[in-house]
């Protein structure tokens, strides 16, 4: 057993008591604090489904020792949403509109990766986008519509034409 510690998640403080010291941040978020958005896929840093931001940096929550993340600002996919229930972030909306969500398991991790990308680089090139999501495995979409979703979200952020009409289009085959 580890002594109780406090984590800062999505702007709030949470006490974690009676935890085993080896618990990952992913486990603590999902099983102790009620944030099931980050998904437990491979639990070895290969799939990216558990991606969260720790002090603004995109990491796999499964590879963060929870008790070492005290004093860090942790943001999960739940923390990206606007306050109204059911509202979506711009990236989430772009994913829905372009059909970039199929089974949905990889989606929260990809949403975090794309937010991390666009917050740093609002107009990423195709190669930069591909690199930024290279740590997030999706076995449904073939990535075409995910790339399209990123393009739509980026275009809207930079004030370009609304990309909503592209929802039915095929993923970029270029």
């Amino acid at each position: 057993m580890s002594e109780a510690y406090v984590l800062h998640v999505n702007g709030e403080e949470y006490a974690v008591a009676d935890a085993w010291l080896g618990e990952s941040l992913l486990y603590v978020l999902r099983e102790r604090l009620g944030f099931p958005g980050a998904k437990a896929g491979c639990e070895q840093g290969e799939c990216g489904s558990c991606s969260v931001l720790v002090d603004g940096v995109l990491v796999c929550a499964c590879l963060v020792l929870a008790a070492s993340a005290v004093d860090a600002e942790i943001v999960t996919v739940e923390g990206l949403q606007p306050a109204e229930r059911g509202a979506m972030s711009d990236v989430q909306r772009a994913f829905v509109e372009t059909g970039a969500v199929q089974c949905g398991f990889c989606t929260p991790g990809l949403i975090m990766a794309v937010h991390a990308l666009l917050d740093q680089d609002p107009e990423p090139s195709d190669l930069v986008v591909r690199e930024a999501i290279s740590g997030n495995l999706c076995r449904c979409t073939g990535y075409g519509r995910i790339l399209e979703a990123v393009e739509v979200a980026a275009r809207r952020r930079s004030g370009g034409p609304d990309g909503a009409g592209a929802g039915g289009a095929r993923g970029p085959g270029r």
Binding site: M1, G45, L63, V64, L65
Partner: protein, 285 residues
């Protein structure tokens, strides 16, 4: 407190002295895989990733004879660009091949060294560049040349109670490269890897090999041989095509590969031969 988050090197060393069996945690990308899998059950963890002294990257000395001092907790994401990309490009190339963005944001060069896997991506580059490690322990600090640091698979000369605090990387003026063979581009552990660094001032060539022996390996005989055969100019080096082939054979002879689930010894030795020839041709005229 079973998890100690150290705020200074002294704090971490004191904690290590108090808890000799503690597990040191840096980026967590190796350790947590074992913990999640139940292969490792730590009873005490000392986290060093937030020690400010370990995070720095600075350049010591002037352009000639300069050294990049990389703090052990510097992440691969930080090695990909900036000072390291400018002054030790092969290290930046290697950093870019580590895992995924998420992994590179967490994994540290000190962790790569302390884990001492033969497949650690930064290690062949540090061998090729002739880096020196700075380690701190209860009796003070000492320096360990990279070619004396690795003692076996996942074994190093790090004594109990010691921490890697920095790696000192000589700035070498001349072309460098890093080549890595794996099953795909992203998220791959090297089946074989090779780093090369040409030093146009010292008229020397350095090579480091990964995943083809119990430790990262150097190829000193091949390097001395080609340095003698090459024609050195101020801004480039020239090598005869036949000598490049002979160099590749000599580098391959330095490999000590085994068969495992990622590849056969024969394949690995051939991969080293191909990479060595290709790397030299890219770096020389």
């Amino acid at each position: 407190m079973p998890v100690i988050v150290a705020d200074s090197v002294e704090h971490a060393l004191a904690a290590l002295t108090e808890h000799p069996d503690a597990t040191v945690l840096a980026g967590g990308t190796d350790l947590m895989v074992e913990v999640n899998d139940g292969r490792r059950i730590p009873s005490q963890v000392i986290a060093v990733g937030r020690v400010a002294e370990l995070a720095g990257i600075r350049v010591d000395g002037h352009t000639q004879g300069a050294t990049i001092v990389i703090g052990a907790a510097a992440t691969f994401a930080r090695l990909e660009r900036g000072t390291v990309a400018e002054l030790a490009p092969a290290l930046a190339y290697a950093a870019r091949t580590v895992g995924s963005p998420q992994i590179r944001n967490a994994a540290t060069i000190g962790g790569n060294l302390a884990t001492a896997s033969p497949a650690g991506d930064s290690l062949p580059v540090l061998v090729a560049l002739g880096a020196t490690l700075e380690v701190a322990g209860p009796d003070g600090r000492r320096r360990i040349p990279i070619n004396e640091f690795f003692t076996g698979p996942k074994r190093s000369a790090l004594a109990p109670g010691e921490l890697v605090v920095a790696v000192h990387v000589p700035v070498r003026r001349g072309p460098q490269d890093y080549l890595k063979v794996g099953v795909r581009n992203a998220m791959v552990i090297a089946v074989a890897s090779l780093a090369i660094a040409v030093d146009l001032e010292a008229h020397s060539v350095g090579v480091g090999l990964g995943s083809v022996g119990p430790t990262p390996l150097a190829a000193p005989d091949a390097c001395e041989w080609i340095a003698d055969r090459a024609r050195w100019d101020t801004d480039h080096v020239t090598v005869d095509p036949g000598d490049a082939t002979e160099f590749a054979d000599r580098v391959a002879a330095a490999a000590r590969p085994i068969d495992d689930h990622r590849g056969t010894a024969e394949y690995r030795r051939n991969a080293v031969r191909v990479m060595a020839g290709r790397a030299l041709r890219r770096c020389a005229r």
